[in-house]
Symmetry: C2
Subunit: 212 residues, 2 copies
DNA sequence: GGACTCAGTGAACAAGTGTTATCCCAAATT
DNA sequence: AATTTGGGATAACACTTGTTCACTGAGTCC
């Protein structure tokens, strides 16, 4: 399908992307449920009616933004988990560093996800939940392939993975909320995030030693 | 101050409360940044101009809702932490049960907090962050008074407390998002929440045994 | 090279919005 | 009993909003 690129499709894709970009930028200071169609088209320099050539409504634009924000993240996660040193602390340090780096490069996307995860637009909430669920599956699969996971069943491993994923999202949100230039605050946040991940990991390693 | 109750103040307080109630109800399907002043006054049956007798703008109403939602929770937390059996699993079960019960009784408030924690209205975000910070302090104080906390310094204990608080908020949000009558889904969520708290608690107990 | 497709235009629509100034009248104060 | 206070009503202000419709003109297809 879509056998011919064509000038036409390229131009359409271009203004579609412009709508997404403008929308994301305008969502800096408000949430999706208050973002107006005219507001977006005005920012792009296009007639309000043109919006309907790309999205049926703002909710659809929001769902497209979810894909844009989270779609490219699967590869990152897989890399981070499978790569390199088995040493737990180093893996944690790297995970937090990757998270922090991702926030710097995709600040607006991170804000959007944090804001709309429990936001006022149902289809967007569902899209985010579905995508985070996929992340959880991938993390669970990664955890399962580690020797420490002996004695864990699949269901419990997914719950553990969910804990990691939620923690990652919260950490990203916290970094994003901190003033961009306040290095001390940022260091404090990443320190806390590392510490929390370490606590969870220790709990995982000593899981079978818990009191009956 | 406010030496006389007076019919006047009582009536004022009454419509103020009506504005808060109507606002909270309307926030079921949208977020604060899209909630209109006229929308709220219409729901109460009052003139738009009357709104200004109680709040300078919608952000102020939002901040008031934060107090209403989280202000009464401090006592609950203190009770839950100090009360009863030292047995860890039982404490966890009770904590999750209390959380679930709270969601049932204050569904709209929980939704509001989850939605606006990273929402589009700065003063509201700050109010929520401040209140959750106070919760974290209280939990940290509670943890400090437990024997298991030997060898933990205050800063790290606060980070651990933050992990518990964030987990509680996420659990409440998850319960709230599940269909109200789907008992299976709800049981699955609370099961996961208990398991996750247990992992964290095991990590805490075995903290000093982690590899150098 | 002529027919067709379709992204974007321009204009009009019926509502909706926050905010202000002025007035009213019951409660509070003296 | 006379005066002041202040919560709420009324009405108007100048905009903004989503959606529709027939249209134009460049890109595509045969």
């Amino acid at each position: 399908m879509s056998h011919t690129p064509g000038i036409r499709q390229a131009q359409k894709e271009q203004t579609r992307q412009a709508l997404l970009d403008a929308g994301l930028r305008l969502l800096d200071r408000q949430s999706l449920s208050s973002l107006g169609l005219r507001e977006v088209t005005r920012a792009v320099g296009v007639t309000p009616a043109a919006f309907y050539r790309h999205f049926p409504d703002m909710a659809a634009l929001g769902v497209a933004l979810v894909s844009e924000a989270l779609g490219s993240l699967h590869a990152v996660i897989r890399n981070a988990m499978t790569a390199g040193g088995q040493d737990s602390d180093e893996l944690i340090d790297r995970t937090v560093a990757i998270t922090a780096g991702y926030v710097d490069e995709h600040r607006a996307h991170v804000r959007f996800i944090a804001r709309e995860r429990y936001g006022g637009v149902r289809p967007v909430r569902q899209a985010i939940a579905a995508e985070l669920g996929r992340f959880t599956d991938e993390v669970a699969a990664g955890l399962a392939s580690q020797p420490v996971s002996a004695g864990w069943n699949a269901a419990d491993l997914r719950v553990l993975a969910g804990l990691y994923v939620d923690h990652m999202v919260l950490t990203a949100a916290a970094i994003m909320e901190a003033p961009q230039d306040d290095r001390a605050a940022r260091e404090e946040i990443t320190r806390a995030a590392r510490l929390q991940m370490q606590i969870i990991s220790v709990g995982r390693r000593h899981w079978d030693e818990r009191p009956a």
